[in-house]
Symmetry: C2
């Protein structure tokens, strides 16, 4: 992580502690803020992004982009960093979509009368203070702030070094909106530095930070997971598989494979490895490889694949653990369901797995046995997405099985507490 | 943690890694074992504890108790350690109760048809491999093993040093029962040592251990939380409050306070601090303090309390953060609801909080605003218990807001994965 704006030896524990403790105090206020007021804050922020504070955000971003160019960032990275009018509109609209979503806080479920007359239920409650540690894209800042506020939480954000001015400008939009509604601006706080020591101090604040969500490359996520003293929900890489069974509809299989690989190759729910049942390999492999090549996909096959289609690159063992995030595909021939299940057990990343088959019993078994946040029958892996699954905006896709498994939206930023109404009940 | 049975310099990473990896492999088998077979394993274990393996368990326990006596353990500790015929029967019955509970695995919720025809839902799935790190009482071993197996998980257990032989004997009961049903005995594994280094190795096995649950004193829980690299669900101390509002039914308040404090003072859901509304203090404090003394409770009051009832010990500031687990009570006078809410915000431990009032609006506010795993109106704090709340046996009471908040039963040892059945859907 990059150059500090603080002198060496700065007391980050104190500095970060003070920021986080203010945010924690603000979290108690936000937790008990009515839906209408939270929505007003978000609508103010949404309007300011394309109105009153638009130029501040664009100017801050221009400085970030200029610095990044001097540092020689790749054009892909520069593109992710750049905010223009279109992207501001998208950010603004994303906040409006969160406004339109129902408030999860205070929802009641499982009401029940105990034999002793005590009425118990569960009530959805905010988590408290959420730390987000993420990289590059500044729109994550506004998405995360809006999701945390709507779900009754405060947040401390630590974005990427190259976007530090853009992120601060977006934070300022939320600060102003919070203040306009008489709420503490500390509810959306940003670390003033992306120092490694500051991040470390943040993720060790047990009792202050209730959850840390790291988003970004595997190294960042591991750094957080290895050093945090507070709960972490991880969003690791997705090495997603499509298994084409011998009993598949092969036109459907081809279509699903192409869509899973090529519709948007740079995201975590795209397919990285195609598993083909040995029973169908001779017939299906030439067709699917030809189609992949027509879509400019580089194909890397295991030995059995290359025995059938010679004209593909060899896949090394490490290929099957790689998240290419690119137009590259590895293919392995497997011995039916058992082979597919065991390949996924070894190489799967608990993200998204799909089977294509006409055999309902096989589909049911695959769906039940495969351990992934979304397991699909006869559909593209690209459906693992908060929007597609009806959650609305997501703060990430959890591959941790604890708390949330899959897309995390507003509801997953809450917990369920127990509540009970009695008439003087005591325990015998 | 106690003396090692392994020579210094033992390679615990390898040793513990091998045990945990075997258990992980077993977890894949248990995850897909039908309910009837899991129940048969549990019934075999239940029967063996009071039948064929009864004497082995009692003999192992006698050795543990003998060693503990030589080491000069307190009589309370010895009592918790000792297994007799009655306790074996209780352990056996607890397993039968788990058999009677429905299997959470494979339960479907939230079925929904997306506009594109994809049928999505969520399916309850086991977490995988659960590590339990706990102290003293050997019945935790059988409870944890039975809960993990029924919920489709495998477990690695690390109990207290003084119970190491008893725990191994109980593990052997489950190993035999698993083998009799053709299942891998590694599904219930025990660390062969309680070495600190072995525990450290266990809780750092990211990717192998899916969750660690520490149960015991605060030092043990902190040790695990500070060193784990896998998700931890904490079961910290309970400094539970009863707030007696000025608008309370004072007979009810007295009854609830006495029950919350004295019905079983040594457990985490008993009251440690009584908060009394200043508006009622003059009238209520003399009555409640008199009643507490009649129940042999040592009362420690803040200045305002002692101004009204002189004959109580002074409460120091640290009293209000202490989990006495004993017939000791601290009392603070607070300025109505605001005072109660802010006292609980500072001193609460997210465990159990109760308000006694006739004013429904105040009760609703207290229930909504207080951050605790169970918030009660007009009822004893002692109700925060898996059995009382209808979950059945519990593996602990989580004060982590992530994943589970409150008692953790079979359902909380699972996660929800997304599933989807399509007819060839791809993303546009």
């Amino acid at each position: 992580m990059a150059v500090s704006i603080f002198p060496p030896g700065s007391d980050f524990d104190n500095l970060v502690g003070a920021i986080a403790r203010s945010a924690k105090l603000a979290s108690h206020v936000i937790a008990n803020t009515p839906t209408e007021v939270k929505n007003s804050v978000l609508l103010r922020a949404s309007a300011a992004l394309v109105g009153a504070q638009r130029d501040q955000v664009l100017r801050a971003n221009a400085v970030d982009v200029g610095t990044a160019q001097q540092r020689g960032l790749s054009s892909a990275m520069l593109d992710r960093l750049t905010i223009d009018a279109t992207r501001l509109t998208q950010m603004s609209e994303a906040i409006e979509a969160i406004v339109a979503h129902p408030d999860p806080v205070g929802t009641i479920k499982g009401e029940r009368l105990l034999p002793n007359g005590l009425k118990i239920a569960r009530m959805r409650a905010p988590l408290g203070l959420i730390a987000m540690v993420y990289e590059s894209r500044p729109n994550v800042t506004s998405d995360a702030a809006a999701l945390c506020l709507k779900s009754g939480n405060a947040c401390v954000l630590r974005g990427g070094s190259e976007a530090v001015r853009s992120n601060q400008a977006i934070c300022n939009v939320f600060a102003k909106a919070l203040e306009a509604e008489g709420l503490p601006s500390a509810a959306v706080s940003m670390l003033p530095t992306i120092d490694r020591e500051a991040t470390l101090a943040l993720i060790k604040l047990d009792g202050v930070v209730d959850l840390v969500i790291p988003r970004g490359g595997e190294a960042l996520i591991r750094f957080v997971a290895d050093n945090a003293r507070v709960p972490v929900i991880r969003h690791y890489k997705g090495v997603c598989h499509v298994y084409v069974d011998g009993d598949a509809d092969f036109d459907m299989a081809l279509n699903i494979a192409i869509n899973s690989k090529t519709q948007r190759p740079g995201v975590c729910n795209s397919m990285e490895t195609l598993l083909v049942d040995r029973a169908a390999a001779e017939w299906f492999l030439p067709r699917v490889i030809k189609a992949m090549k027509e879509h400019n996909v580089e194909v890397r096959g295991d030995v059995a694949t290359r025995d059938i289609v010679a004209d593909v690159y060899p896949a090394t063992p490490s290929d099957f653990d790689e998240e290419y995030l690119d137009l590259v595909l590895s293919i392995a021939v497997v011995d039916g369901m058992e082979g597919a299940l065991s390949h996924i057990r070894v190489h799967g990343t608990k993200h998204t797995e799909a089977i294509v088959t006409k055999d309902k019993a096989k589909a049911d078994r695959f769906i039940r046995e495969v351990d992934a946040s979304l397991v699909l029958h006869n559909a593209s892996t690209r459906f693992n997405d908060g929007g597609e699954l009806g959650l609305g905006a997501e703060i990430g896709i959890s591959t941790t099985k604890i708390h949330a498994y899959g897309p995390m939206g507003l509801m997953e930023l809450c917990t369920w507490k127990w509540i009970g109404y009695g008439q003087g009940q005591v325990r015998e």
